[in-house]
Amino acid sequence: MNSIRRDAEMRPAELVRICVMRRLACFRIGFSALWLVLGPGCAVATSGAGASTSSEPTLQECKTAVAQAGALAAELPPDNVSRYFAERHLQQAMVEAGNGEFDECLEMAARAAEQARERRHELPPGEKLKVRQADE
């Protein structure tokens, strides 16, 4: 079990990065923050875990779908509300991946791509999407 503890040592640099990203989360979610949700070693069960016999979606497929949808969203202006919605979907996609639910990851990535392509959210002049921030 000691090796597990070594692997899982705290990394202060990661904490700093989250705190910085928190302020940007209003209309932009950085993919480095998403990476923390997922984690670089996510769902890579090492030897001893049961072998999967499933033909279910994989982490790599999830990552690819998220990257593609993220690229679509990035084509929209940073303050575009549809981009914000798309990036929230991508946040959830990575959370699902972090839980090993790659099918739901793909579903959320698809929603993000749809949102970015179709710009389903649109604000008339003067109207704002009010989302309460952590410091409010």
Binding site: M1, S3, I4, R5, D7, A8, E9, M10, R11, E14, L15, I18, M21, R22, A25, A33, W35, L36, V37, L38, G39, P40, G41, C42, A43, A45, T46, G48, A49, G50, T53, S54, S55, E56, V81, Y84, F85, R88, Q91, Q92, V95, E96, G98, N99, G100, E101, D103, E104, R120, H121, E122, P124, E127, K128, L129, K130, V131, R132, Q133, A134
Partner: protein
């Protein structure tokens, strides 16, 4: 609420007569302490898996009262089962995710907190088979059930004096998901006990938990031996799932439940993958676990609906192509899968929960949501109240079928739905069986309170009703009518017999499948035709109607809605809900329609939480009817089995494992 001071209420379904009559006559029935039913939620998530908030935060919002300290309403549920996914997770679920926008809370992983004492809990290592590294280092769910969630359940139980249960959303071999709880060992009210049995079930049977080791003893010997870590997919997975159901039935027949959830979401079952449920799988589960596998849960995620559907988190590939009146087609369709099971006389009852993960585009404290509602905010599962209400009353109540499911606060905690024969004084309620003679008149009585307000943050008029000229604010529930749905009971179909397995279809084609052709809306009672009584916090509506017994057994179930018959893009001419994606064809034109609704050419459409608050339904479980001298129905046989197991339990005190300071039986 002080549960210990409650008046003696419903202690068994068969005792409903005197109680419900008393309630109807009671001017103080709106007093919560005397409510015949209590509201709860059994399916919700936190950052131990794919939720957005800490495990404790969800409980605080769900069962707390008033306003949360950091903002946002609490929803004061009476009971709460923490029903989170199996598998593993890399986030420390004592912390909420950054995306929840809660002051002082940032996404935190186990790698950052090992060895620290946080909220009185110290995690020194990630146990079992190593899984991931760095910030991706995962804690297997059996460990977080034992060492994180259950201690938080204990802490919050004493804080709120509510009934809290550690459960699971089982990621099922061969299928998608199932709500499970194992009460055995849990004694949070006594500030002790453990969720070891719940954790063991997760370790053994969750297909996302591929840990081959589990907990070990002081000698590093495996404690939970013999795990099948191979057969997790398709038909082999289904067999493993059945083994799990049998495991619960044999070990915890009165202290566990197995309720498949959002069962249409991933389309039809596949013999080579992990998705879906066909009717034969419900039958298999109920056959394998007659006192534990007794239901179906309709989906949560009610605020996810966009321009092309999505409510319930259903895509167009779900069986039925989406939700109908915020329910899956298996339960929403008259003659659908649920009616097929009831047509066998099976004890398969309907439940509902929030499936809370996040508020989508919003933070946890915002009143709006584009994804999920917090437990108790929109969806309530009512089970019978009891003196000194306990976790066992939750499971006993669910098993009895004497429960009902309500969205959008359409009705309150005092539903009366019962039937009796001619000259008979013995009323039977939901889940029970009335025995009559051919030609006998059956009286059905129903009463309910429509509350003055629900939890909607919106005060503008319901846009689905505005199109038919009705001005009904979204925060003030209204009932348009109640349907009494009947179906013939033709007997249990044996495994392998014709009709036992029914091929299923993805999309709207799946909505065309009829499982019980006799099911029909037998009575439709307009609210305007019901007797009205103004109460302290709402309006009581009640009516009585009659049926005449024929020569065959049948059942009567009920549903109600705020939507009139034939409302464009919402209900058909018979009053059944249309595919909810159609709601988005209706515009939300009130100046107060919120900014987060999806738009077409700049026009806001009825989507997300506005759709959910606009399209409100409740579902009540069936009352069964059979003839004198006819064979007992399976629902009766399985209820008798539960009673006999309970008597056996009474005689074997080693098996008593109640978290009470009393014996609730």
């Amino acid at each position: 609420m002080s549960l210990t001071r409650k008046a003696i209420l419903l202690t068994a379904a068969s005792a409903s007569l005197a109680f419900t009559q008393g309630v109807i006559a009671n001017e103080d029935r709106d007093d919560r302490k005397s409510n015949p039913y209590v509201a709860g939620d059994m399916h919700n998530h936190n950052t131990c898996t794919d939720g957005s908030v800490a495990a404790g935060y969800t409980i605080d919002r769900a069962v707390g009262r008033g306003t949360a300290s950091a903002g946002g309403d609490n929803f004061d549920l009476d009971w709460f089962t923490l029903g989170n996914h199996g598998g593993s997770g890399n986030r420390d679920c004592r912390f909420s995710d950054t995306s929840a926008k809660i002051p002082g809370q940032t996404t935190t992983t186990w790698s950052q907190t090992l060895g620290q004492t946080i909220d009185g809990i110290t995690i020194t290592s990630l146990k079992g088979t190593p899984n991931g590294s760095g910030t991706g280092a995962q804690m297997w769910r059996w460990q977080s059930i034992q060492e994180i969630e259950y201690p938080i359940i204990v802490d919050r139980t004493s804080k709120y004096d509510k009934v809290l249960i550690e459960g699971l959303e089982w990621i099922v071999p061969g299928h998608e998901h199932i709500d499970v709880a194992v009460l055995t060992g849990q004694h949070p009210r006594r500030k002790k006990g453990n969720a070891d049995k719940m954790a063991e079930f997760e370790f053994r049977f969750d297909r996302a938990d591929t840990d081959a080791l589990g907990p070990v003893d002081a000698g590093e010997n495996q404690i939970w031996t013999g795990k099948d870590n191979v057969n997790n997919t398709g038909d082999a997975g289904h067999q493993k799932a059945l083994t799990g159901v049998k495991w619960l039935q044999s070990k915890y027949p009165l202290q566990s439940y197995v309720i498949p959830t959002h069962t249409e979401r991933q389309g039809p079952y596949s013999p080579t993958a992990n998705r879906g449920y066909n009717i034969e799988h419900f039958r298999d589960f109920n056959n394998a676990g007659p006192t534990v596998a007794f239901g179906i849960e309709s989906p949560g995620h009610m605020a996810e609906g966009g321009l092309t559907g999505g409510s319930g988190s259903y895509t167009p590939n779900a069986v039925g192509g989406g939700t109908y009146g915020m329910s899956g087609v298996y339960t929403a369709k008259v003659g659908g899968l649920w009616d097929g099971l009831l047509g066998e006389g099976r004890n398969v009852f309907m439940y509902i929960s929030s499936d809370w993960h996040s508020r989508g585009a919003f933070g946890a404290r915002d009143p709006s949501t584009t994804a999920d509602f917090i437990p108790g905010e929109y969806t309530k599962l009512y089970v019978p109240n009891a003196e000194r209400f306990s976790s066992h009353d939750v499971v006993d109540g669910m098993r009895s079928g004497n429960t009902y499911s309500v969205n959008a606060g359409l009705i309150g905690a005092d539903l009366v739905f019962r039937a009796k024969g001619q000259g008979d004084s013995d009323w039977k309620t939901m889940g029970e069986t009335l025995v009559v003679r051919p030609g006998e008149k059956i009286t059905v009585e129903m009463s309910m309170t429509v509350p003055d307000e629900n939890n909607s943050p919106y005060t503008f008029d319901n846009p689905l009703l505005a199109q038919v000229g009705q001005k009904k604010p979204l925060n003030k529930p209204s009932l348009d009518h109640v349907d009494l749905i009947t179906g013939n009971i033709t007997g249990v179909i044996a495994p392998g017999a014709p009709g036992y397995a029914v091929a299923n279809l993805a999309g709207t084609a799946g909505a065309a499948i009829v499982y019980n052709p006799s099911a029909t809306i037998a009575r439709q009672i307009q609210a305007s035709q019901m007797h009205h009584d103004k109460k302290k916090n709402g309006v009581e509506l009640r009516f009585t109607t009659t049926f005449t017994a024929g020569n065959n057994p049948f059942y009567i179930r009920a549903r109600g809605t705020n939507i009139p018959l034939g409302t464009a893009n919402v209900t058909d001419s018979a009053g059944s809900p249309l595919l909810d994606a159609n709601n988005a064809l209706v515009s939300c034109t009130d100046p107060a329609c919120p900014a987060h609704l999806e738009t077409v050419n700049g026009v806001k459409k009825v989507t997300h939480d506005v759709q959910a608050w606009s399209n409100a339904w409740f579902y009540a479980n069936p009352i069964f009817v059979r003839l004198h001298g006819s064979p007992k129905l399976l629902v009766e046989a399985n209820a008798e089995l539960a009673r006999s197991l309970d008597r056996r339990d009474d005689h074997d005190h080693d098996h008593h494992d109640h978290d009470n300071d009393h014996d609730h039986h």
